[in-house]
Symmetry: C2
């Protein structure tokens, strides 16, 4: 249909016109004024406590203790079961979060502003690679790190970013793609590029050399530091693409560890939901697929903008890390994803594929027609609360989401 | 000959056993006690003033003013022509330098220690990408930057490296190869990895936030910062490979802008020399090949250890930058260089070539037999003094060097 084609061209035009800039780090209560006491934003589509998976429950118990709403994990779980907390998706509050993806009022949030459209998106600072809340960790070490992010790193990054006037993310991603990152399971290049932009401004605005050294050391030791920046960027790019009448372009893909949900431009903020799938991947020493929780997190926003599994050809090292075959196979993932999108991104190209642009604008019609579901690169959490990451792998978005969405858009257009 | 094969296996064994660590930055007069007043070490094989090219003369005039041996550039040139300075190759004093590659007593030198063999090598800090002495620049801005390196950045890096206990370079290079660097014309990834290791220690050991911000900003703004580290590393790896009886492995390739020289293990410190060739490449706006100086610098030590032109397959973006064809052509350079070496490096691999190890241990017999001269990625200097870089390209080591060396080794073995 001509109307759908035009709507999808407009969707991709907006994606390519986006100008995302990392501008600040501010307390969540300033970023999202509606974020009150006992209110917890989570990854994925809406879900109540009774249906939440183990790591999501573990993280919620931990964050309730961190926020001072419960005195210990046990009390927090009892309170949660009794309905003491209000839950809502990050996506409903301009935010995203990796894995469990919890957002609460005291956390520092990174702010990405899309200067072409004026909207802002938020994501917490990446906690690092050890035991962390996003994979369901909730012990004293995890909560102490969250406090340090709130009290030390968040304010230091905020001051530096305000001094710099922000970091432009579009050229940074372009560079990272030529340095082996796909920005989902590999962010080592972009993390370094962010650090080298931030470090001089952090030195300039710092008043305590000891804390400065801690902050620079924390960022420098975390190869995934940039993931959360990429996610806030993804949200900032896709939000202005919502609500284009008749567009079949996917504006969000997200999972809460129980359900996988997608949103499509022409159907606004409606979620199309199916059970999440189990990632196929490689496990850390001592763990097997019996330990794994199904797919989780808002991080699939990066695939929605053409990165992650869609940009695998830029990151042959990731193919090995997630157990997806040889390095040379990486290109196949990107070329396959090219079959289910509206176009390619001329500013985000892959040198090893002779500067092919990353596949941009997932069209639910093409997904259903070809039977090719979007490939997602992901971390794998332990299914029990309190344990953490056990591996990394690849998962497909459930085809049922796209089939439902196609019915939804047909209804919207009055053709079903 | 069995004896040659065994000697070459020993040469490559030593190359692979090397453990290069960036340990310090110290004044050249401490690193090289023989480096006295009016003594200037330069890139390439030995050369006298009368045969030096324009950028080399320009740099020498500049460094003489910097060291206070002459009051201005004109006086410096007159003094040079009258024999007031003593010239010697960096390679004779455990040092290397990019392009003109001048080393004099006041400059700060980075120290790479090969912990497996106990030897140390030295290289000055990279000056950045604007008008710089290594490309023949010699004005007040160039000299002021050298003074800042001596007074601010050198001491700051030295203190940080001593605090860290050094930065291990072998794993850093391995990582850089998976991030699109070949460590000659592209060092953006390795420069970032060095910065993220250095930054926390620089913050910890700094006493002046303003100077710290300057130092972090300088490193972060210089994509080629790591080149000089790679060069000192190359020298540290190859020096223990010298003087293996009957080995036909190349231990150094170097050029002074007039002559190209190589050294071979079995013939010790003897240079085999031929006229340098002109790089084929791309020129910056406003310049053409008529402006170009022939090939120059000690930086070819990185090709000697399997990086630069030998590792082009890791760096498809470089193929475009130096005008060597499409990104996909990059792999061909690496595979071709594999034909003239003893083996490959199992720790330095190229993900995009399904983890092929970089070609290691150039065998002069194979160079002569196949007619394949080593490929070198290089910057191009203006042929006049005082101007600077005008482009980047690819050059071949002159075949005559390898033919002479083959005769030399045959004489050594009593078979010629």
């Amino acid at each position: 249909m001509e109307k759908i084609e035009q709507a999808n061209q407009e969707a991709v035009r907006r994606m390519l016109a986006a100008d995302p800039v990392l501008v600040d780090v501010i307390p969540a209560s300033d970023a999202i004024p509606d974020l009150g006491d006992r209110m917890i934003l989570h990854a994925g589509p809406p879900i109540e406590w009774g249906r939440m998976c183990g790591p999501m429950r573990g993280a919620i118990a931990g964050i309730a203790v961190f926020e001072g709403w419960a005195s210990d994990l046990e009390e927090a779980e009892t309170m949660a079961a009794e309905g003491a907390f209000r839950f809502a998706p990050n996506h409903d509050y301009d935010a995203v979060g990796p894995m469990t993806g919890l957002t609460t009022k005291s956390q520092p949030l990174m702010v990405v502003e899309n200067r072409a459209f004026g909207n802002r998106s938020y994501c917490a600072i990446n906690e690092g690679l050890d035991k962390v809340m996003r994979f369901g960790g909730n012990d004293a070490e995890v909560l102490a790190r969250l406090a340090w992010l709130r009290d030390v790193l968040g304010p230091a990054m905020g001051a530096a970013l305000r001094d710099l006037g922000g970091i432009e993310l579009k050229p940074l991603i372009a560079r990272g793609l030529s340095m082996g990152d796909e920005m989902h399971q590999r962010n080592v290049a972009c993390s370094g590029l962010v650090l080298r932009a931030l470090a001089p401004a952090m030195a300039k605005t710092s008043r305590d050399p000891g804390l400065l050294a801690e902050a620079l050391g924390f960022i420098g030791a975390n190869d995934q530091f940039h993931l959360n920046i990429a996610m806030a960027m993804g949200k900032a790019i896709m939000d202005p693409v919502r609500n284009i009448d008749a567009s079949t372009v996917v504006t969000a893909m997200s999972r809460n560890g129980t359900d996988f949900g997608i949103r499509v431009s022409g159907t606004g903020d409606r979620w199309f939901i199916a059970p999440v799938e189990m990632p196929q991947g490689l496990y850390f020493a001592g763990f097997t697929e019996d330990d794994a929780n199904p797919d989780m997190g808002d991080s699939t926003i990066v695939e929605t903008i053409g990165l992650g599994g869609f940009a695998m050809g830029a990151a042959p090292a990731v193919a090995g890390f997630v157990g997806a075959g040889s390095a040379a196979d990486a290109a196949i993932f990107t070329r396959t994803m090219s079959e289910i999108v509206v176009g390619e991104n001329p500013e985000w190209t892959i040198p090893a594929l002779d500067y092919l642009g990353v596949p941009t604008g997932i069209d639910i019609r093409l997904v259903v027609e070809t039977g090719i579901a979007p490939t997602i690169n992901t971390g794998i959490a332990h299914r029990e609360p309190g344990i953490g990451q056990v591996g990394a792998g690849i998962v497909r978005a459930p085809m049922a989401c796209f089939e439902q969405a196609l019915v939804g858009i047909a209804e919207e257009l009055g053709i079903a």
